[in-house]
């Protein structure tokens, strides 16, 4: 339930409706004609309209109504639902209230029509007009563009409809399923679960050696010490954390997105994969940063912890498709440590992304490009579009081959284990001397 309710500022007068005018006109005309021409049947015909009109006048509401509505929407995950809580303060003689919420893109409402009708009884103080809303795609959406109205007996008088202002609702991406057993190539920090090449305080066994001055007593390995008659201690490798920068290429969005329940576009796949990789490394205690480029460059400095993961996902929710020439060359200013790993999530369709990847690799960064182009692209119906897409795919394959030749590892996004082999290779290469262009 979103917190923060709107003050009762929405005002509307009570207006008579077509129904009331129709009943009044029928009453007056039929009674007058019946009396003037001595037609008792017309007086009988006037009777129901006279009763309805009198009833409507007796039950005519006058009090202004107060609407309480949310002024802010909570941050949700894709597929989550919330209550769009709207309440109407009841007043005497108000019998029915209605709300109509227009569903925005990637929103599902319950009731499906977005219309909810509530019957108001004499002892009701507040009328609940809440509608359930579910968001099906990451992004910043507009929610709650709705109108509220109330009517009196026989629909004779109407209050509203008043339009409620919409609010911005942020939906963070639901990270794709991802897991990896390979450690980060160059862990350098002091905390984390990556095994260091050096010995130190950690959890992974290294060797057993004779006791030295300064060793902790709890590290003494008693079975070996008893056998050898000299004190021996078990040593471990130090645990270290890595610095990972996730780069998201939002310069293009290919295919049609049907939200969390349907087909994913290339940007859907990119954003969800970026969320998954960030979540994976954060859960291992690594420091993860985020750079989104396309329409501009948005940057989030590397940090660790669940709160930081939340920030990354919210920042990913604000990803917009765009291709700005100003972003060229700005990716190089990542301000990362020498042992940081860069994971670029891209559909590899933009020349800018490929050029930046080539430059980063040339400058010695540990870079992995994750290809997030979906296997099937929707929305290509006609023969010309399909032919054009095939030509573009061939060009893209050539560009990726060139990039691989330049020393940039490229892996296709396949969920769990996508990065395992390439990370092991990078770790192996990292332990050997390298030549870089400075």
């Amino acid at each position: 339930v979103p917190e923060g309710s709107g003050a009762p500022q929405l005002r509307s007068p009570w207006r008579t409706t077509h129904a009331f005018l129709r009943g009044s006109i029928m009453t007056v005309v039929l009674l007058l004609v019946g009396l003037l021409f001595h037609q008792p049947d017309l007086v009988v015909l006037a009777t129901p309209f006279l009763i309805v009109t009198t009833w409507s006048l007796v039950r005519r509401p006058t009090a202004d109504l107060a609407v309480r509505y949310p002024r802010a929407a909570p941050i949700l995950r894709e597929g989550d639902a919330m209550i769009w809580a709207v309440e109407l303060g009841a007043a005497p003689f108000v019998e029915q209230a209605a709300i109509q919420v227009d569903p925005g893109p990637f929103q599902q409402l319950r009731p499906r029509s977005g219309v909810r009708i509530a019957s108001i009884h004499a002892d009701d103080a507040v009328v609940d007009l809440s509608v359930q809303a579910r968001t099906t795609r990451w992004g910043i959406h507009e929610l709650g563009r709705s109108s509220v109205s109330a009517t009196s007996a026989w629909g004779a008088h109407r209050w509203g409809p008043v339009t409620l202002p919409p609010v911005q609702q942020t939906t963070r991406p639901l990270p794709a399923v991802f897991d990896g057993r390979a450690p980060a190539p160059h862990p350098a920090g002091l905390v984390g679960i990556n095994r260091s090449a050096r010995g130190g305080e950690g959890s992974e066994f290294a060797t057993i050696r004779p006791f030295q001055l300064g060793d902790r007593l709890r590290r003494v390995h008693w079975p070996v010490s008893l056998r050898s008659q000299t004190l021996h201690v078990a040593t471990t490798y130090a645990d270290q954390d890595a610095e990972v920068m996730v780069i998201v290429d939002s310069s293009s969005d290919l295919g049609e997105s049907a939200g969390i329940d349907g087909q994913a576009s290339s940007l859907d796949l990119t954003v969800r994969a970026a969320g998954a990789i960030a979540e994976h490394f954060v859960s291992r205690g690594d420091r993860v940063g985020l750079t989104v480029f396309g329409q501009g460059v948005a940057r989030l400095a590397p940090a660790a912890g669940r709160q930081h993961l939340w920030r990354i996902l919210v920042r990913l929710a604000g990803t917009a498709v765009g291709n700005s020439a100003d972003t060229s060359g700005r990716l190089l200013r990542l301000r990362l440590g020498p042992d940081a790993m860069v994971v670029m999530m891209s559909a590899c369709l933009s020349r800018l992304a490929l050029d930046e990847a080539r430059t980063l690799a040339g400058r010695g960064a540990t870079l992995v490009v994750v290809d997030t182009l979906p296997t099937t692209i929707g929305g290509l119906a006609d023969v010309a579009s399909l032919a054009a897409w095939r030509i573009r795919r061939l060009e893209r394959d050539t560009e990726l081959r060139e990039l691989r030749r330049a020393g940039v590892p490229i892996v296709a996004w396949r969920g769990p284990g996508s990065l395992d082999q390439v990370l092991r290779d990078l770790r192996r290469h990292g332990s050997s001397p390298r030549v870089t262009r400075r």
Binding site: A19, L35, D41, V43, T54, R68, E95, S119, T151
Partner: protein, 194 residues
């Protein structure tokens, strides 16, 4: 006692359909109570279609008045039993149009709302039959100015109700209490199976 009924009821095309159908059915009492002409059928059916297309508009009052005009031109007996039947049909058409105007067309109504409208319409239709019987009774007694008496009686009754209502509101009736601004507490939990 809770009346049985559907849990939800969608009005999208049903209420305008009911309005058009009941209006078209006014041809039945006109034919049985007087003499029906072809042009009357054409006019009534055309107006019924207009009610279906635009139920909550100025067409409504034009259609109802035209229905009464057709009744007068058909020349029925002033004591015809078909008079309250026609009145009921016109009432149902009017109520269906009014009801349709209370909410967006895609609204789904709860059973309580449906029964409220149905019960009230039935009560008004029953009152129409009572007034018809009183009118016929007065006419049978050959009382001078029976039409005036019935009309005056109805108007007096309506005026009395209005006066009583104004007195109740002015004296702070328990019904007319001010609205409470505090919303009730809502149960926690915002997850559903979609």
């Amino acid at each position: 006692m809770r009346l049985p009924g559907p849990p939800e009821w969608q009005s999208q095309h049903l209420l305008p359909g009911i309005a058009g159908l009941t209006y078209a059915l006014t041809l039945v009492p006109v034919a049985l109570g007087g003499s029906l002409h072809a042009w009357m059928v054409v006019v009534v059916l055309a107006l019924a279609c207009s009610l279906v297309a635009r139920p909550e508009s100025a067409y409504g009052v034009a259609a109802l008045l035209a229905g009464v005009f057709v009744w007068i031109l058909a020349g029925p007996d002033v004591e015809s039993i078909w008079t309250p039947v026609l009145g009921t049909l016109l009432l149902v058409a009017h109520v269906a149009m009014a009801w349709h105007g209370t909410a967006p067309p895609t609204a789904r109504y709860e059973a309580a709302i449906v029964w409220r409208w149905v019960a009230r319409t039935t009560a008004v239709a029953a009152a129409t039959f009572v007034v018809y019987l009183v009118s016929v009774g007065l006419h049978a007694l050959s009382i001078e100015g029976s039409v005036l008496l019935v009309a005056a009686g109805l108007l007096l009754f309506a005026a009395l109700i209005l006066v009583v209502r104004s007195d109740l509101v002015a004296s702070g009736s328990p019904v007319a209490r001010p609205p409470t601004a505090t919303p009730p507490t809502r149960p926690e939990g915002a997850r559903w199976d979609w």
